[in-house]
């Protein structure tokens, strides 16, 4: 039996949130339906944040109301980003069964991105995680800038671990380590994971890599070697890089699934159907999918 790797599809939230062009609710739901049909089991579907700040995420309650619920019995999970208690209440009302908080390993990034220090953000997250757990809802923790910060440059693995441990301590069941600027190389990824795995089990960690500098697939491969079996990715590479306009952001789910399948891991995902889902949303955005695998599969390929 092939070993299982879990893909957390973040395209509908992390991806579309960072696309300039807002996508309507019906199209978001249609994307999610296609992802579910392709066999994707973990989908970050929405963000309960003020549409004043993030207009791309307007309609999140409607999205959650319309996603295919029958599949939940078959192991499909929908999650939503909830930056604060108000967001959590909206997410609970919308029927989310998992929520996520988004912290940073870099002080400057935390201040510029969410307008508070790391310590302040963790305090705010604690109220979210406590209320979520009281409501029987799991919480995922994100740590951003784990392999570098757009403002500070290098970020020490010990600092990433410190934030990750606090997220675990407040009850996060999974911690996603994000290379927000995509500057990490496989050796840096390995050093980061070595530090984290001294205190946290591999089953609790997810690799969330950006392909801005072309390193993401290599970083997934290095993480697999270190024992990680959960990866975040974005169909069609949705999202771009908010810190390098016009450049790639989230690694494309198609490329990660190709890597995993060809290395003998089981993902439960049909690659052709995933490519079709990526084409669907790319057409809605009026551009080509940011995925080498999608490009290769759609080419006049004799191989």
């Amino acid at each position: 039996m092939a070993e299982r790797v879990k893909i957390v599809e973040v395209g509908p939230r992390d991806g579309l949130q960072n696309e300039k062009q807002p996508i309507d609710v019906a199209t978001k739901v249609a994307l999610i339906e296609r992802l579910v049909a392709a066999g994707v089991t973990h989908i970050e579907a929405a963000s309960f944040v003020s549409p004043k700040w993030v207009p791309q995420m307007a309609g999140s309650a409607q999205v959650m109301a319309a996603v295919p619920r029958a599949h939940q019995a078959k192991g499909v999970h929908y999650s939503a980003l909830t930056p604060n208690l108000q967001g959590l209440e909206a997410a609970l009302a919308a029927g989310c069964e998992e929520v996520a908080v988004f912290g940073a390993a870099s002080e400057s990034f935390s201040r510029k991105n969410i307008n508070c220090s790391i310590a302040e953000s963790l305090e705010r997250f604690r109220s979210v995680t406590e209320a979520a757990q009281a409501a029987g809802v799991r919480v995922r923790g994100y740590v951003s800038c784990v392999l570098g910060c757009p403002y500070e440059g290098a970020v020490a693995p010990a600092q990433v671990l410190r934030v990750a441990l606090q997220l675990r301590e407040m009850g996060c069941h999974e911690i996603s380590l994000g290379d927000t600027i995509g500057r990490g190389t496989p050796d840096a990824t390995r050093r980061l994971l070595e530090a984290c795995l001294r205190e946290l089990p591999a089953t609790m960690l997810a690799g969330h890599y950006h392909d801005t500098w072309g390193m993401a697939v290599a970083n997934v491969a290095a993480s697999l070697e270190m024992g990680l079996r959960t990866f975040d990715s974005s169909v069609a590479g949705l999202g771009g890089c908010p810190y390098a306009a016009g450049a790639s952001g989230n690694v494309a789910s198609e490329d990660v699934v190709y890597l995993l399948q060809n290395m003998g891991y089981e993902t439960g995902i049909d690659l052709d159907a995933l490519v079709d889902a990526g084409l669907f949303i790319s057409q809605a955005l009026g551009r080509a999918p940011q995925s080498r695998v999608s490009q290769a599969l759609r080419s006049a390929c004799v191989s």
Copy 2:
């Protein structure tokens, strides 16, 4: 002192040979001048093959006559592909100091690509290597389809090794292992190199990976771990994939140099100048460079 990794820039030959649009001699020479100025020391500059078959390589003698020769004293090397004795004679007349022969690990690919069996091709190469060595010129050997064949699918590492050993036996000083269709993953790369390194020293092998399926940087990283210190790449990802029209081919030199520099290896190459060389030739071809690093560096990047 940082450990040195040798980059063999194959854009002017392997790259431009596979571009639909022919590039004139002056532009090729201008590209090579820019590569040399960026610190590239090994450049596959030309191919002495009939222009009837490969019109993109017409003018190879003029290219070789015009490349900056003063840099050779500073360790810049130019090589050319020479499929047969006639090609070798032309290359010697043009002042090449290194030539290359191009074999395959797949019988079907050999027959379809160079119209003869592997054994027949090796016999032909033997006459080239003997004459080259008699003239004091080094010969590089290519093995294509090392991680899969567009016609046969899987290719056994033992079959790659068999061809590589014959190339060494006839005097090739370096053997470049080419993932022609770009379908290899890091575990397959590792298995291939394990087989080859049982009989050949790492210093004799070069990794030549195509990024058609987004795996090339991960394969370079896996090869570095296995001890390889020579990689072929193509500035701006020149070349595309002849077996998947519209898809990527050779891994972009910019992406490989970024990986190496950030992993602490010394390449002697100035990344910004290399990106400029890639932009120059991409503009001549009327398209954008196929390099994530080039894209990121040219974006409005705050990192």
